[in-house]
Amino acid sequence: MEFLFAITIGVLVAAAVYLMLSNHLLRFIFGLVLISNAANLTIFVSGRLTDGAPPLIPEGADAPLVDVANALPQALVLTAIVIGFGLFAFAIVLVFRAWTTLNSLTPDDMRLAEPEEAPK
């Protein structure tokens, strides 16, 4: 199963990278969302996949009675999702600001911080 999702992650990453390279900030944002998802999924898959056994301890038991899914990567992914959301939120606001202040969404045209050399 892990193999299947490793391939899925590869496709997500490839699509994300292409979008991030597209010289358009909205597409970059799309790519960012994809690649964040891919990274989260990488952790999840790295922790190995278990079908249908959430890491919960039933009432009356001291430990899970069956082999439950690996809880640690789940906690990590949860953390990573929330952090990723924070980063995304900032990024999207930045894109918005870039549009309102620089009037462009193509970062290659943004040359205020690194102006092009005036031709001599």
Binding site: P54, L56, L78, V82, G86, A89, V93, F96
Partner: protein, 139 residues
């Protein structure tokens, strides 16, 4: 958004989401849920409010600035971590008090961990609303 249906629906939904978010937070320690999920759900309620009735109303309903809520949440979470110091434990050591504990029953648990989750809830709730309100107003 001048939609009667949405406004009326929001009246029910926002409260519902808020109550539901507390429920998700409180049960988090034993079942799916917890501070994040609670906070996100609760925030959704006010996001809906802001969409339906405008941010002014939403802010008025909230009464406190959302960023203040968020920072208080962080403060609470931090305080929980520091609280362990009183008992000579390390940062973020959970402190438990079982009300009416007997030999067989653990009793009603009161824990610093729950307060920490409340901190998480407030942070997520406040932060998302800070963001959404500001964006709504700016656009």
């Amino acid at each position: 958004m001048n939609s009667v249906i949405l406004r009326v629906g929001t009246r029910y939904l926002a409260g519902l989401l808020l109550v539901f978010s507390f429920y998700m937070m409180l049960r988090g320690h034993n079942e799916p849920g917890g501070g994040f999920i609670g906070g996100l759900t609760g925030a959704t309620g006010f996001v809906l409010y802001a969409i339906a009735c405008g941010t002014q109303d939403a802010r008025a309903a909230l009464r406190v600035m959302p960023q203040t809520i968020a920072i208080w949440g962080l403060g609470i979470a931090l305080a929980v971590g520091l609280f362990a110091a009183i008992f000579g434990d390390a940062l973020f050591t959970g402190q438990w008090l079982f009300i009416g504990a007997t030999e067989t029953e653990k009793g009603l648990p009161l824990s610093s961990v729950l307060v920490f989750d409340i901190g998480v809830y407030l942070v997520v709730f406040g932060s998302i609303l800070t963001l959404v309100f500001a964006m709504e107003e700016e656009i």
